[in-house]
Symmetry: C2
């Protein structure tokens, strides 16, 4: 029942009907190109003005960089640096040189060639919701995230072709922080062959993780460093601050040729100006500073531009997602990304507390903002609740339906003479139907997308089958995936060596996160 | 609490907090222009091929027209007509002349000038879900639609500026069919000042309705006929058939200068070919025939092109909505509408049986198909369940949130020097926050959309307040609207005369529908 062997994965019937024939439809969800027209929220000259303002912010106001090594890199490049305050004033020529050397296309090597991810303008990559301290599902309720949750969520991520990278799904809080990176890396490498994520929580952990990926993939040091095999996400500390582990991450990933996705997380009205244009000016400035650091360390290092800008409720300060302001910020970020010509990451999300219609609407609304913004990578595209405090198993499944439907729109729809169906139109009389037409019979097993969790049966049939809502059907789907425990092929020796490495390093005390 | 007097309507807090200040934001939702880029699913030459194939279908295969008067109109124009079979073979020159005379812009007069609706390429008009035999809500459950339901749904439609026309919301099955049109017209005219809908169920009912609208609006016959004050929806009987009441409707509305929205309702694989291109060839042919009839009756008569094409589940025959195929069909229809240069109607929808995440996702997904297709009018944009068999009060509210957010995207987002916020960026130190910045203080009451039903409070607060999901919050919202019973200003004499007319006509037995 695992969908791994099928190109078109995730197709399941919501209930009953084990005898129902399966669709023969096959659509490649693994390598997607964004088919949607790009939408602008600002005129080209105002985008240029925002870019220019961001450069002025970096030059005039500066950015505080907490890591001395990073400040030294900036100083060596000609930036004005104050080690007392940590402030770095970055001239625009440094940023412009960095934008010139940053690659526009990054091929990321996964565990299987068909899982490779190309990050470049025009490609479309989905990630599930990530970084949550809590997990929730209808069977077990809401709880602090555990190692078990992390592993299960990797399994679910692996099961759907439309999810292209493994993000830091949930924080396994029952694992000691100095050992947690072993646990999450072991799960990602053995339960999935998709591109793994590494937290930038200091050089010691990052080096451990690089070593695990390198050896599990059977690579030499040189081979590892010559292509990207893993990635990290760099959130600046808005406004205008880059902390120690993030600075280390930018340096380490650049030095080793691995991917940094630079994503200032800015909430309009809180850690960013209240206007879309102001928040993007700040976010863009921070992203440019981080990108510059990677290129100063290693020109050509793989780095992905990003933004995650939404707004807060101005009465309570509560973050909101999937709002019109979030949508507009995504559009503006897309324009800025095109202005600098880099692949870029955007984010969906929801502030709802359970997977209800608010949650569905917010996540899908934000998703469309990302899609029309021309995002390369869209994170939090499925399963993210409470503004990221919780990942919901059921929401992961119900949002996946939308991602699969978007993936269907990425495929070409033929409109040749056969599809125009003049033969069928001649065959069926006025007021008749096309169920038995030859044109229909030749296509009925392959023509339509078959839903993952949607139930299209009529009210009577649906009621007879127990009146199950989409969430309860979603529970059955993820439970089956977890129970099946399908894993990608892995070399037993490599798995053994990975476990040996982890045991040895754990016995030595592991590597505590830096701060 | 009625939102009528406010330009920015529908803003409500989901729970508690009566003392919370209301947003001072004001955005006009009444006249919208579609801000989204248009998306193509087929190349321009294949769209031309579909248009040409549709013309060939009308010429070669023909369309069955059941009304003798309509056949006589076609015959007089030079069509080849067989009264025995009812088949009409329509030459392309007749269709081309009709497309040349059909107006590209139609101004529809509502009860208040600010409610007028302009149907033209580029304008964006929303209608709630319509035509349902059943109604459902969490307080009273699912039941056959009643007059009470119809009136309540008119009240809810009236309460939100983002809904621009009143459609046939629910079928009031407890009202005799020969009197039902009096009931629905009275409700639309007295509870709303938005553009009213008239069912084409035969000339006698339509003439009754025209008279009611004319007199209630205080118009002469000539004034009534010189502008559009009401509209009907014409569904062909696919494939290739136009029944008696629909033909009468096309003729009557054209003759009186009122709007026909021509919408073949075609399900791929059932009453239409299984391919998007084939279904659109059929739908387009039927729409062209109906448009031609209106223009032959009165050149320049207001008519709106339309399609509603989705697919069925090929195992059960059950209709599906909000699918990738539905989305693609909307895109193709938009391309055909632009090819012929007319305003056009598209449809959202959902096949879900309750307002769960499936329902939310399907409706929003289909909505985006319509928006990217450049639709002028989008029906079933809120509240439509079970493929149209039920209108849900709660779904009406929860979907309205999305429509309001889309309306927010129609407004210009400024990016002047003030919005770039360089002053605020200089004022707030690294790692600080913008809550108290002067830039924020000047804008916090007006900058952000305030949600209708979304609850952004954190999990603890939300749980304390009763863990209410979006649907239960929606119940409170519609109940309040119904209880408030706000009505537009109306001349008491006109209301009295309307009631007299209805009483007199009812005493005479009313007007049974024709078939």
């Amino acid at each position: 029942m695992h969908r791994e062997g099928r190109t078109r994965t995730g197709r399941r019937r919501p209930s009953g009907g084990a005898a129902e024939p399966r669709s023969a439809r096959s659509v490649n969800y693994r390598q997607l190109r964004n088919p949607f027209p790009q939408m602008a929220v600002f005129s080209a000259d105002r985008i240029a003005a925002i870019h220019d303002a961001a450069l002025s912010v970096l030059e005039g106001l500066g950015i505080r960089v907490l890591l001395p090594e990073a400040r030294a890199v900036f100083r060596a490049a000609g930036a004005r640096v104050d080690d007392e305050t940590g402030m770095v004033h970055l001239g625009r020529e440094i940023v412009e040189a960095a934008l010139a050397s940053a690659p526009t296309s990054i091929t990321c090597r996964a565990g299987t060639r068909s899982r490779d991810v190309v990050l470049e303008p025009g490609s479309l990559v989905f990630q599930p919701g990530a970084g949550a301290p809590h997990a929730t599902d209808l069977a077990r309720g809401r709880r602090p995230g555990t190692g078990r949750d992390f592993r299960e969520l990797v399994q679910i991520t692996q099961a759907f072709d439309v999810l292209h990278m493994v993000p830091p799904l949930v924080e396994p809080q029952d694992i000691a922080t100095s050992l947690r990176h072993y646990f999450t890396m072991e799960a990602q490498l053995t339960l999935s062959d998709k591109l793994p994520f590494i937290y930038s929580r200091g050089t010691p952990q990052v080096m451990d993780c690089f070593e695990m990926v390198r050896d599990f993939r059977g690579l030499s040091d040189e081979a590892f460093q010559s292509e990207s095999h893993c990635y990290t996400i760099i959130n600046t500390n808005s406004p205008r601050q880059l902390d120690i582990p993030m600075s280390q991450g930018l340096i380490d990933f650049a030095r080793y040729g691995q991917v940094s996705i630079v994503t200032p997380f800015t909430l309009m009205g809180a850690m960013a100006p209240i206007t879309v244009a102001g928040a993007l000016t700040l976010s863009h400035a921070e992203a440019l500073a981080a990108i510059a650091l990677t290129q100063l360390v290693r020109p050509g290092a793989p780095v992905c531009y990003g933004t995650f800008t939404s707004n807060v409720d101005m009465r309570s300060g509560a973050p909101a997602f999937g709002t019109p302001e979030h949508f507009k910020a995504s559009l503006a970020a897309g324009q800025l990304a095109r202005h600098i010509g880099l692949p870029w990451r955007c984010a969906s999300g929801s502030a709802a507390n359970i997977n209800d219609t608010q949650a569905a609407h917010e996540t899908q609304f934000a998703l469309w903002g990302c899609l029309l913004a021309g995002a390369t990578v869209i994170i939090h595209a499925a399963g993210w609740l409470e503004g990221g405090l919780t990942v919901s198993y059921e929401k992961l499944i119900t949002d996946l339906e939308v991602l699969q439907m978007v993936a269907e729109l990425c495929a070409v729809t033929p409109a040749g003479e056969g599809e125009l169906a003049l033969d069928a139109l001649a065959e069926v009389p006025p007021g008749g139907h096309f169920f038995g037409a030859a044109h229909t019979m030749a296509r009925y097993q392959t023509e339509f997308y078959e839903p993952l969790v949607a139930d299209w049966s009529n009210f009577g049939t649906w009621a007879e089958r127990g009146s199950r809502d989409s969430n309860s059907r979603a529970t059955a789907i993820w439970k089956e995936i977890v129970a099946t425990d399908a894993r990608p092929q892995a070399d037993a020796d490599r798995v053994g060596r990975l476990h040996d490495f982890i045991a040895r390093r754990s016995a030595d005390g592991g590597a505590p996160p830096e701060s």
